[in-house]
Amino acid sequence: MTARPRRSWGALTAVGVAAALAIAGCASPTGRDTAAAAGAAAAGPVPLVVYSAEGYDAPVTKAFTAATGIPVSLVDDSTGPLLTKVAAEKNNPQWGVLWADGDTAFAALDQQGQLLPYIPSAPLNAVGKALVPASHAYTPAATTVMAAVIYNAAKAPGAPTSYQDLLGPAYKGLVGMNDPAQSGPTFPFVAGLMNQLGGQAGGVAAGEDYLRQLKANGLHVYPTNGDTLHALETGQIAYGMIQSSAATGELAKVHASAAFNPKIVYLPESTLLPSVIGIDKGAPPAVQDEAKKFVDFVMSPAGQKVMQTGDPSGDSLYWPVVDGVTALPALPAFPAAYQRIDPYFWGPLEGEINTFFDSTIK
């Protein structure tokens, strides 16, 4: 006998569909389009949609709303998923402000014409000035460096003084780092090595050669900062090259013991890894105005103070780029030997360099 979907099943389906539509009917959009329409109707401030990967973003946005009366809708996630969202939304962006670590992705967004140039009024220190792009397409709000070499002084044979040291027999099999394809902060580090060893003129060859030698000396590659730290704690490695804020946070959290005594050394040269804010060029003018106010608030003493208290064992451990703001006491002096890599040169090479790393070093 042929069995066909019967009416009773149709009714069942109808119940399900009705339930699904009821959910859809309950939609209370928070996207920019609707928010703008609502804002226009109410003539009040439009909610500013902030996509952020910073540990201190929730307190900062709350403080911003308290200070200005502008409501903020926050999407807080890791840099990867946020950039995926931004890319997927490209033909109809929903974000007003994008805030994450690393300027190479922002340089790419600028080259695609997605960022609104803006010059905040806050005075910058020397490091901050070095980080500002000529186009002013994004604003550095703070900086960390890549890499901090965190090592277990209870087990490690000694502290290295240069990246070349890590190629020596004393370090064989003891060094670990993150995978640049999975760890946002690590591509600038790899690009920084290439910049340091070969320069923009020399290209990637010398850096690739260095990484091959490191690999030959037993380099371990882990997905992200947390995994490399875990390998350090479990004794799989004695030296981990990770982001300075993660390394400093580890020192702040861990009480040294006979088996584990973490210390940090910064090798010449440390590559700057700024926390960067960009404004959507396609946003309505009202949203852009709010976004500019947001950038100004972040760069103000009040905003910087919230940044420094919002994630005390994580992202708050940054070096300020605003003149007159001092770093938290847990941080050492800013590494004397540092470099800023040109994100407009190295950013477009990210795919190629990560593929090399994936197939040759990992």
């Binding site: 006998m1 979907p5 009416r7 109808a14 939609a27 959009p29 389009d33 900062n225 479990t234 004794g235």
Partner: protein, 583 residues
């Protein structure tokens, strides 16, 4: 039938017929909205990046070029091998567990049944991480003084990936097969024995009659395994053993973002699932497996000899230990012990992580929010899944059921990130916004995304049971004067109540800790619990992150207990009797 029916004008009758077709139309509209359109638009990017501003070309095959060489090709091949191995292993084990629990007097049957649901609740990444906690350097086993170097070398690779995925696949196979086994009365075995067949002949008949469920199990475990992301992102990634879902994720999650390449990998995953479906339909075509009717008789339990009892119990214990014991130990110890798996501190027991987690609204609110969404998703999915399973189990060569079948299995094979990105492509289109549909960035779209990820596997799990229901059951109700809905409620619902509850629980648990769809679709200011957990773990707050996980899993277990407890206490005796065996 009353005379009134004869005087209803044709026009009205035509109108009524149309009205009766409306639910089916609405069903297809929903399927297109939540599955077809998002998947299609995502996959379209492989050919035409320009359509969604993802590249300059209107038509290109370069995404496929990239997907079919180097590490991405390796990932696809690894996924294929892992999928086949996992499907075979999990189905064999699932069959064994289902048989032992439903047809033998093996001790502690309720424990094993509960453990199968426990396995469904455990996210695959938790199972993988549990194993890693045991085997890693300075991990639990090494702290206990065992040298596990050789085991670690073996486990950190394809073997470990297959073991974890097989353990996660067992409950899917178990559900598909045990539902069918419950519905298969004793009469078929008895018939074989009466006609002089031995135990082997009876078993052969049972296995043959369960073929739809077995194939369903193989297909669903295969599709679930190749689309798994939890193991791909943890054990496989740590072992530098690339699988397709991770390479797909990598293409859209690391800069530069390459949607066309990800879409090409998506096509390959779909093709693999399509092959599994083809094998399934080839194996089953032209036969009927309708065995559950009004005259089905409960089966008797086989009495196991003492050695067989010991062997069966040990086997069940190993499966449960591998899938539940290890991750539970890993998660609970990591959340309770200060500095487990590290050289830090003196490994004190502490509840500080839980105190911190429970005191913080940053966890509490997301957990409650996720629980609400899981509740809605599970309910809607169970209802629609039932309808889907009914359409799929219709015999004959109806195009709609074939299309739906293909669609659902291929949807199982696609990782959540594909749905999530596809939802953005679809519901953030300016054209859709111009039509007045503003779903992107809302809770509603997140729920629809959850529904889309849950529906394929849920309806395939239900298929095993729904496919067994003979039409005669409901027709008998109609003959005796019941209305369409009334006779369905009185005849079919009791038969399906238990599998539907199982499907509900499965969806609830899966949705509660869902990550990829949550990540890309969660509405601003309302992060689901998985986002909070991932953030804590990414910031190396290992204790806090795992304490959140354990809290969420405990909540899921509590809901499961309430659901099954409620069924046991409140459902009519007849509902509970279906599928039971004589003790």
């Amino acid at each position: 039938m009353t005379a009134v029916a004869f005087v209803v004008p044709d026009r009205v009758r035509l109108g009524l017929t149309r009205f009766r077709g409306a639910p089916l139309l609405a069903f297809w509209v929903l399927i297109v909205a939540i599955l077809v359109a998002p998947i299609l638009l995502f996959l379209l990017v492989a050919f035409s990046p320009r359509l969604f501003d993802q590249g300059p070309e209107w038509f290109t095959l370069s995404g496929f070029g990239e997907a079919l060489r180097g590490p991405l090709l390796q990932g696809l091949l690894n996924s294929l091998l892992v999928g086949i191995a996992t499907a075979l292993v999990a189905t064999a084990i699932g069959f064994g567990v289902a048989w032992a629990v439903a047809r033998t007097d093996v001790p502690a049957r309720a424990v094993w049944t509960g453990a199968m649901f426990g396995l469904l609740l455990a996210p695959s990444y938790l199972v993988a991480l549990g194993w890693e906690r045991l085997l890693e350097p300075a991990g639990v086993l090494e702290l206990l003084g065992l040298d596990v170097t050789a085991v670690r070398a073996l486990f950190y690779g394809p073997v470990g990936v297959v073991v974890v995925l097989a353990v996660k696949g067992v409950p899917f196979a178990y559900l598909a097969i045990s539902s069918a086994l419950r519905g298969l009365g004793e009469e078929f075995e008895s018939a074989a024995r009466v006609h002089g067949g031995g135990r082997v002949a009876a078993l052969r008949i049972v296995v043959a009659l369960l073929a739809p469920a077995v194939w369903s199990a193989v297909a669903i475990v295969f599709a679930e395994s190749i689309s798994d992301f939890g193991v791909a992102a943890t054990l496989a990634n740590d072992a530098h053993f690339p699988v397709a879902t991770f390479t797909l994720y990598d293409a859209v999650d690391s800069f530069p973002i390459r949607f066309p390449v990800a879409a090409a990998v998506g096509w390959m995953l779909m093709a693999m699932a399509g092959l599994a479906l083809l094998a399934q339909s080839r194996a089953l075509s032209g036969r009927s497996y309708r065995v559950l009717g009004g005259r089905s008789r409960p089966a008797r339990r086989h009495r196991l000899s003492p050695p067989a009892t010991a062997a069966a119990t040990t086997g069940l214990a190993v499966v449960v230990l591998a899938g539940l014991g290890v991750p539970a130990f890993g998660a609970v110890s990591a959340s309770l012990i200060d500095g487990l798996g590290s050289l830090v501190g003196d490994h004190r027991l502490t509840l500080a992580n839980y105190a911190r987690v429970l005191a913080s609204p940053e966890l509490r609110d997301p957990l409650l929010y996720s629980a609400r969404l899981a509740l809605i998703t599970a309910t809607v999915t169970a209802v629609i899944g039932l309808a889907v399973a009914r359409i799929l189990s219709a015999r004959g060569t109806r195009l709609s059921s074939q299309v739906l079948d293909l669609l659902l299995l291929t949807a199982v094979a696609l990782p959540g990130i594909v749905f999530a990105a596809g939802y953005i492509f679809t519901y953030n289109l300016p054209l859709i916004n111009d039509l007045g549909i503003h779903l992107y960035g809302t809770t509603a779209l997140l729920v629809l995304g959850y529904l889309a990820t849950a529906l394929p596997s849920t309806s395939r799990v239900l298929l095993g049971s729904v496919g067994q229901v003979q039409e005669s059951l409901r027709e008998a109700g109609r003959v005796h004067g019941g209305g369409a809905a009334g006779s369905w409620l009185r005849t079919v619902l009791p038969v399906l109540a238990r599998p539907v509850l199982a499907a509900w629980v499965l969806t609830f648990a899966g949705t509660l800790l869902e990550l990829p769809v949550s990540q890309l679709l969660y509405p601003p200011d309302h992060p689901p619990v998985a986002i909070g957990i991932t953030k804590a773990l990414a910031n190396y707050d290992f204790g806090g992150g795992t304490a959140m996980e354990v809290t969420a899993v405990v909540l899921a277990l509590a809901v499961v207990a309430v659901a099954f407890g409620g069924f046991h206490l409140l459902a009519p005796t007849g509902w509970r009797r279906i599928g039971r065996t004589h003790d």
